[in-house]
């Protein structure tokens, strides 16, 4: 089981308190009905599914219930960092191997 740091509670808590909410930083169009089929497919279905560093959303559902973002390595499952929703994608990762 993973230990995840909630950036709102500022505490490491067990994975059971959290729900993964998929890839982060996928912006929903402000005019969703006007999207082309290609763009809608990219937004709705296509995922980067990286072997390595992933940016993803989590929700502290059995805690503060808030969404936040995390950076994790999908090979080791090790969390690099977590940050609050709405904050920009970190340009530089602390202690990243590459």
């Amino acid at each position: 089981m993973l230990l995840i740091r909630c950036p709102y509670c500022e505490e490491e808590r067990p994975e059971l308190e959290f729900r993964n909410a998929g890839e982060a930083h996928i912006a929903r169009s402000t005019n969703i009905a006007g999207e082309s089929d290609d763009d809608f497919e990219k937004f709705f279905f296509i995922r980067s599914n990286p072997k390595g560093v992933i940016y993803e959303r989590w929700r502290h559902i059995h805690g503060c219930a808030r969404f936040f973002n995390a950076v994790r390595d999908t090979v080791t499952d090790k969390f690099v960092m977590t940050y609050k929703a709405g904050e920009p994608k970190p340009a530089k990762l602390p202690g990243a191997s590459k």
């Binding site: 089981m1 059971l16 729900r19 890839e23 497919e41 709705f44 279905f45 072997k51 992933i54 499952d77």
Partner: protein, 417 residues
């Protein structure tokens, strides 16, 4: 290829078993092949086998980064069934089931397909409605599936607890008698032996690190840890790593890869005569011919390539198994392991041509690909050989996520299957 038979066993017994040949050869890779298959699991090897036997294409290489059948083929719980809701799914899974029947004879290799019956339990009113809908839809598609009362379910599988006060009471079950299990390794080995005997090169410890495309956009070969290997046609059958390979060719996929776990108990005398599944509590159980209880759990909730998973997922499954089968509460578990499954948004596979000329993909089997192995290889070989999908896999396109023509087994089963 020397045929296996009772006479071969007798002959070898007479001369100290010195005449058995290797089941497949391990040649050095050539500079170029007609077709390269990426991934020597069951689906990839079956594809190579049917390319050779049904389409006369034998200048084929199957590249494998690890060892043959060491991915999800060697990690699944070997359940075989075809009782899917939609016509498209029924078509492809039943095509596979028909090939399972007779596969040992076809391959001259005992894959130990055992039609011992797959029973899916209903625990509440919603389950009853969903499973009965499946039974009716299956029968319209000519697939056997029947409804059982709790008493009939108990008769079919005696260790099952059908007490009304059980935490997950059994209120009925759907039974597909043609469903069952097979020996997963033997499926990979049998297809490998058959393909190798017809000239297919199986190259293990050869990881694909890049997909090369010619000036006109078509594929021209793959970069590997053993050098460049050319081919005008490439079939990607890489399970959890399919999106990684497809990205090398510049194709982004509607896939996410998750860990899926399974475990086996210590071996005991025959006690579970069939396969029992419960989608609601997410547990599968059957008994191998060695006597181990083979138990399948659900996926972890996050994308991962770690080939391991959280212990709480297994615990949840074992909780459910012990509720349904109180007889097993004191069994010891021997091993648990994880595989990486590639899941599509509609929980149906993608077996199709891609926007890149000469590049074909067979992926997205998610948590239930083993049962489809023969059928998947069979129609994928057709797709590669003819550069056109077989009618059975024609609906399983990559474009369906743009057109919206989904095959939404996710909604149908309310569970990754």
């Amino acid at each position: 290829m020397k045929k296996y038979s009772v006479f071969a066993i007798a002959r070898e017994a007479m001369r100290g078993h010195k005449g058995w040949e290797e089941q497949w050869t391990s040649p050095e890779p050539k500079k170029e092949y007609d077709v390269i298959i990426v991934g020597a699991g069951g689906h990839g090897l079956a594809t190579a086998y049917y390319l050779a036997t049904e389409h006369g294409i034998t200048n084929v290489a199957v590249l494998e980064k690890g060892w043959l059948g060491g991915g999800n083929t060697g990690r699944n719980t070997t359940i075989i069934r075809s009782n899917y809701l939609y016509d498209e799914s029924a078509g492809i899974y039943d095509h596979a089931l028909k090939l399972w029947d007779g596969l040992s004879q076809e391959l001259n290799y005992n894959v130990m397909y055992s039609a011992r019956g797959v029973m899916m339990l209903a625990h509440n009113v919603h389950d009853v409605q969903v499973l009965k809908r499946h039974v009716h839809a299956n029968r319209l598609n000519g697939i056997d599936n029947e409804w059982l009362t709790p008493e009939q379910a108990k008769e079919f599988c005696p260790p099952l607890n059908i007490a009304r006060e059980a935490r997950y009471p059994v209120v009925g079950a759907a039974l597909q008698r043609r469903g069952g299990t097979a020996r997963h390794d033997a499926v990979a080995w049998g297809y490998a032996r058959g393909a190798s005997a017809r000239g297919v090169h199986i190259i293990q410890n050869c990881e694909v690190t890049g997909v090369k495309r010619a000036a006109n956009g078509a594929v021209s070969g793959v970069e590997t840890t053993r050098g460049f290997i050319g081919a005008k046609k490439i079939g990607v059958v890489a399970a959890g790593h399919s999106s990684v390979i497809m990205n090398m060719a510049g194709v982004r996929m509607p896939l996410e890869s998750y860990p899926l776990q399974a475990l086996v108990s210590e071996p005991v005398k025959p006690v579970v005569p069939c396969v029992v599944m419960s989608n609601t509590v997410h547990a599968y159980i059957s008994q191998s011919d060695k006597g181990e209880l083979v138990i399948g759990a659900g996926t972890d909730q996050y994308v991962s390539y770690s080939q391991t998973g959280g212990l709480h997922i297994l615990q949840h499954t074992l909780d459910a198994i012990c509720e349904m089968f109180p007889i097993f509460t004191r069994m010891k578990m021997l091993r648990s392991w994880g595989g990486i499954v590639d899941v599509t948004p509609d929980r149906s596979p993608i077996l199709a041509k891609t926007p890149v000329k000469g590049l074909y993909v067979n992926c997205g089997w998610g948590t239930g690909g083993f049962k489809a192995t023969p059928g998947s290889g069979n129609v994928f070989a057709h797709t590669i050989a003819k550069d056109d999908p077989h009618p059975i896999n024609a609906p399983f396109t990559l474009e369906r996520f743009r057109t919206g023509r989904l095959i939404d087994e996710a909604a149908a089963a309310a569970v990754a299957h």
